[in-house]
């Protein structure tokens, strides 16, 4: 037996008994639970949450064979009771039908509606109580991941009973991650209840852990003597130093992710505004169209949400690209070289597009479902977790950027675009159809805006106003990066993102945004052409 179990036994012999009872379910004679099992099941269908909490505790202590299934169903909102007989049922949905399986013996009933049955309602307190009770039962699960989750759940609220149980399991544990978490939990428990001789070891164990409960246990620790107090303080400092380091890494990630969103929104504009010199106020609405395309694609393939996002990327490129070409052909074409008129006309176009979307899809926001593989976070350790959706968007941004650079540098279209933007007359003299190139370039910029819309649909609201919130940021990035330079847009987007996120914890979100704007204004005063000014003859006019 391990040392943990020994201290636990020495200090609280009753606990081991209790844990034994917990394991075997012979708790009835011990009278540890005030409620009998039968009463507890009955109370579940009452409306009083406090009574229900006691019933759940009692069920977990008695631990009959049905307890695990019943608590799990209750957590998922699938535990029902019949209105008349108050018998408990577990609901399963099969197509349009509802199948009610009795918790105890009996025949399953299939119904078309839930009439006659009522859900057992739970609130947050009950939910965490159930999770804790389930975690105790899951400690012996075959799956190491389930065990790990169970220990982590218990860590949130480390109680003596759970500690005693874990002490008896830790030696049999084969998975090192689970064992480490268990050791942390036991150390927390020892610090609180164990005798002084065990404290130094417990502090050392906790110092190596980044867990929040471990940190709090150390903070609340009442050291019996100076040596231990010093040791605990050193442990806290060590954990804090490590946490600070990870917090910096996290801020960096936040910055890059905000930056990639800014860059993504701005790359399209870097082409239409930067390369072609068109001030396109409808750029935001092209992003919005991309987001709505994602929504429509998800409506068309409700069974394959995971795949829908991948389909949406090219679809949004095409849809927004076509809308862009239509805008270029119908409006902008007539206004080349008249920036003020272009600005006003495209602003009008943006209002028309917004109201069109409002009429087709209603002014309400639409929901784009985040696919499973993009939700949640990549848990690197206890304090540092990178959210998957942001992570993929950074990668997506880089991919779009590289693809665009390749198009501009390696394809005929790219060559012609560059030629037209540098010297329109000369390019025409060389046989380039400048009108055709204009339309395609604008379409390319618009299409990339559409792809940005796919990414944004996963982060924010898909609504008619989506574009408005990004248009100013996009212009900011392009101007800061240097008009006409794609690299500028990327570097500017990323650096603005990082600056913003570094300022935010210190200045607050509102002030951070203002400071960034002030910074850009000052920067433009000093270097009017942005980070990467265009050189050569073309830039001189």
């Amino acid at each position: 037996m391990s040392e943990y179990a020994i201290t636990a036994k020495a200090k609280k012999p009753a606990l081991l008994l209790l844990c034994l009872a917990l394991l075997t379910g012979f708790v009835q004679q011990l009278a540890a639970a005030e409620l009998s099992l039968e009463e507890s099941w009955k109370i579940l269908s009452s409306k009083n949450y406090k009574k229900k909490a006691r019933a759940i505790e009692a069920i977990a202590q008695h631990n009959p064979p049905e307890a695990y299934v019943a608590l799990k169903a209750m957590l998922n909102g699938q535990l029902y009771y019949a209105r008349r007989s108050k018998e408990l049922y577990i609901l399963k949905e099969a197509g349009d039908n509802y199948i009610f399986t009795p918790l105890f013996a009996g025949e399953a009933v299939t119904r078309e509606s839930k009439r006659g049955f009522k859900k057992i309602r739970i609130n947050n307190r009950l939910r965490s109580l159930i999770r804790q009770s389930l975690a105790v039962m899951q400690l012996k699960d075959d799956d190491a991941d389930v065990r790990l989750a169970a220990v982590q759940e218990l860590l949130k609220n480390p109680e003596a009973e759970a500690a005693a149980l874990i002490a008896s399991l830790i030696d049999k544990e084969t998975d090192s991650r689970v064992q480490k978490a268990m050791r942390t939990l036991l150390a927390i428990n020892q610090l609180e209840y164990g005798d002084e001789a065990a404290h130094p070891h417990a502090i050392e164990t906790l110092a190596a852990s980044l867990n929040t409960s471990a940190m709090n246990a150390l903070r609340n620790y009442q050291a019996p003597n100076k040596v231990l107090e010093k040791k605990a303080r050193a442990a806290i400092k060590r954990i804090n130093d490590q946490r600070d380091l990870y917090a910096k890494a996290e801020t960096m990630f936040f910055g890059l992710s905000l930056g990639s969103v800014l860059a993504l929104a701005a790359i399209g504009l870097a082409i239409t505004f930067g390369v072609m010199g068109v001030i396109n106020m409808a750029h935001g609405e092209l992003i919005m169209i991309g987001a709505y395309t994602t929504y429509v694609i998800q409506l068309l393939m409700p069974e394959h949400i995971g795949l829908s996002i991948l389909v949406a990327v090219p679809a949004a490129f095409v849809v927004s690209g076509l809308v862009g070409i239509a805008i270029e052909r119908s409006v902008i074409r007539h206004l080349y070289g008249r920036p003020l008129e272009t600005l006003l006309a495209t602003f009008g176009v943006s209002l028309i597009l917004q109201q069109t979307v409002r009429s087709i899809f209603s002014p309400l926001n639409r929901s784009v479902e985040t696919p499973q593989w993009m939700s949640g976070a990549w848990q690197i350790n206890e304090v540092l977790a990178l959210t998957w959706n942001r992570f993929y968007i950074i990668i997506f941004c880089l991919a779009v950027f590289i693809a665009l650079i390749l198009v501009m540098k390696k394809t005929v279209l790219g060559l012609q675009v560059r030629a037209v933007s540098q010297n329109r007359m000369m390019a025409r003299a060389m046989g380039v159809r400048s009108e055709w190139v204009d339309a395609l370039t604008f379409g390319l910029g618009a299409g990339i805006a559409g792809m940005a819309g796919v990414a944004l649909s996963l982060l924010t609201n898909v609504g008619p106003n989506l574009g408005q919130s990004y248009i100013i940021d996009s212009f900011m990035v392009v101007v800061f990066g240097g008009v006409g330079n794609l690299w500028g847009a990327l570097v500017a987007g990323m650096s603005l993102g990082v600056i913003n996120k570094m300022l935010e914890p210190w200045a607050g979100a509102v002030l951070a945004k203002i400071l960034v704007l002030v910074f850009i204004i000052l920067f433009i005063q000093k270097r009017p052409k942005g980070l990467f000014p265009q050189r050569g003859r073309a830039a001189e006019d």
Partner: protein, 431 residues
């Protein structure tokens, strides 16, 4: 559409002509006109369009019952386009040109502040259906939404007493409603013995979409070993990315519950609610309330809007209560003259949708129950707590210095919106 407009213009022209001729009976006609002042375009259209539809439904139903005072009701709908100065212009147009007898409208506090002088100058009536920050009482405005003591304070009480919250994050959008509400809440929490270091206040710009660092800060703030909750006055659009980020960073409602004052069924209908289960909202009405009135209301709403999936929400109930109060007051007074109806409205009691009655009080606020609901998978709320009785709306908060001594009573002879009980003086302001 055009014929309707022409007709409207013709009537307006007729009325204008008649008022030019010096008749005082400008409101007497074949129909009684009701102004609907909600944005149908722009940023607020998302919330306000539904309220316009609610008003049209209520008016259509009343007409089926034979109208009011034997006359048909006619809705005059205008679109202030989420543009605050335009609200004032449109309000003036409704009252002076269209000669409406009452206006139902506004959502944001800034739009209400913008129309207020117009209503006071022309002495008309506005029913304002949205929860707001209080600290206002106008002779011409009837507040059917919740004052802070009908939403924010009970929600905090619930968290403190039932959930055992010890540390508080007050997060809001940076404008008048969250700032005032948070000021009241902070004063209230400190009065209850919460220390300053256990309160974190955070403001974000309108439509904020990048919540990463704020959520991470909240997570850090909440990991100090004391139960932490977020009290959110985050407005409309910014909520969805906020909740998405909470879910992605793995903060569940059991760890750090968020109680929101601006998130209702309508806002959730545009959202995948699975990760939000257990987060809270405080309102005076939820669609899931079990009462006969509510069932009938939902049925009528689905019939009217021809879409079974549309949800109902708290401001809709506020319009339901406000409209019925106005009808009752007009019938009591026997006229639609705003000056008379203003007095008749005080004391009027009508059924609300949660199975009880709401009464209009002398301070132009109403009595309502306060409900706390937890978000469910289907985008509805499970009611987990409610006040034992009705809570009367308080125009002036008891927790702020300066407003503590003020009361509002629009009955004669006091007839004052901000009477100071200490100095025994009415400050003389109209609101």
């Amino acid at each position: 559409m055009t014929t309707k407009k022409l007709k409207k213009m013709a009537i307006a022209a007729l009325l204008a002509a008649s008022s030019l001729a010096g008749t005082t009976l400008a409101w007497a006609g074949d129909t009684i006109k009701i102004g609907v002042l909600h944005s149908l375009s722009g940023t607020m259209a998302i919330s306000e369009t539904t309220l316009k539809d609610t008003m049209l439904m209520l008016i259509a139903e009343q007409n089926k019952k034979g109208g009011v005072l034997g006359k048909k009701l006619e809705a005059v709908v205008v679109d202030p386009a989420s543009n605050w100065p335009l609200f004032a212009e449109k309000a003036r147009e409704l009252i002076s040109k269209d000669k409406v007898d009452v206006v139902f409208g506004c959502w944001t506090s800034v739009s209400r502040k913008s129309v207020l002088p117009v209503f006071e100058e022309l002495n008309s009536i506005l029913f304002y259906p949205v929860q707001y920050e209080g600290e206002e009482s106008s002779k011409n405005v009837f507040y059917t939404g919740a004052a802070p003591n009908q939403q924010a304070i009970p929600a905090v009480d619930y968290l403190m007493n039932e959930v055992g919250v010890k540390r508080w994050v007050l997060a809001g959008t940076d404008y008048v409603y969250p700032r005032t509400t948070n000021k009241i809440l902070k004063a209230y929490l400190m009065a209850k013995g919460v220390k300053k270091k256990d309160i974190m206040i955070n403001y974000t710009p309108f439509g904020h979409s990048d919540w990463q660092s704020i959520v991470s800060e909240i997570k850090k703030f909440g990991s100090a070993g004391k139960k932490t909750a977020v009290v959110s006055t985050i407005n409309g659009d910014a909520n969805i990315p906020f909740y998405k980020e909470l879910a992605n960073q793995g903060i569940s409602a059991e760890d750090i519950p968020v109680v929101a004052f601006s998130v209702g069924e309508e806002e959730l209908s545009g959202l995948d609610t699975k990760p939000l289960v257990g987060h809270l909202a405080a309102w005076n009405y939820f669609m899931s309330v079990e009462s006969d009135e509510n069932e009938e209301f939902i049925e009528n709403w689905h019939k009217f809007i021809k879409n079974k999936k549309r949800v109902t929400n708290d401001p809709m109930e506020a319009h339901y209560i406000g409209f019925n109060m106005w009808v009752k007051a007009v019938e009591k007074a026997g006229t639609t003259d705003p000056k008379v109806v203003q007095d008749a409205l005080i004391g009027v009691t009508v059924p609300n949708l949660s199975g009880g009655y709401s009464a209009m009080m002398p301070n132009h606020h109403i009595t309502k129950p306060v409900l706390i609901g937890e978000i469910q998978k289907n985008g509805q709320f499970d009611i987990v707590w409610e006040t034992s009785g009705l809570v009367p709306g308080d125009a002036w908060s008891d927790y702020l210095p300066g407003s503590r001594d003020l009361i509002s009573d629009w009955r004669a002879p006091l007839s004052c919106g901000n009477y100071n009980v200490k100095t025994k003086k009415c400050s003389g302001q109209n609101y």
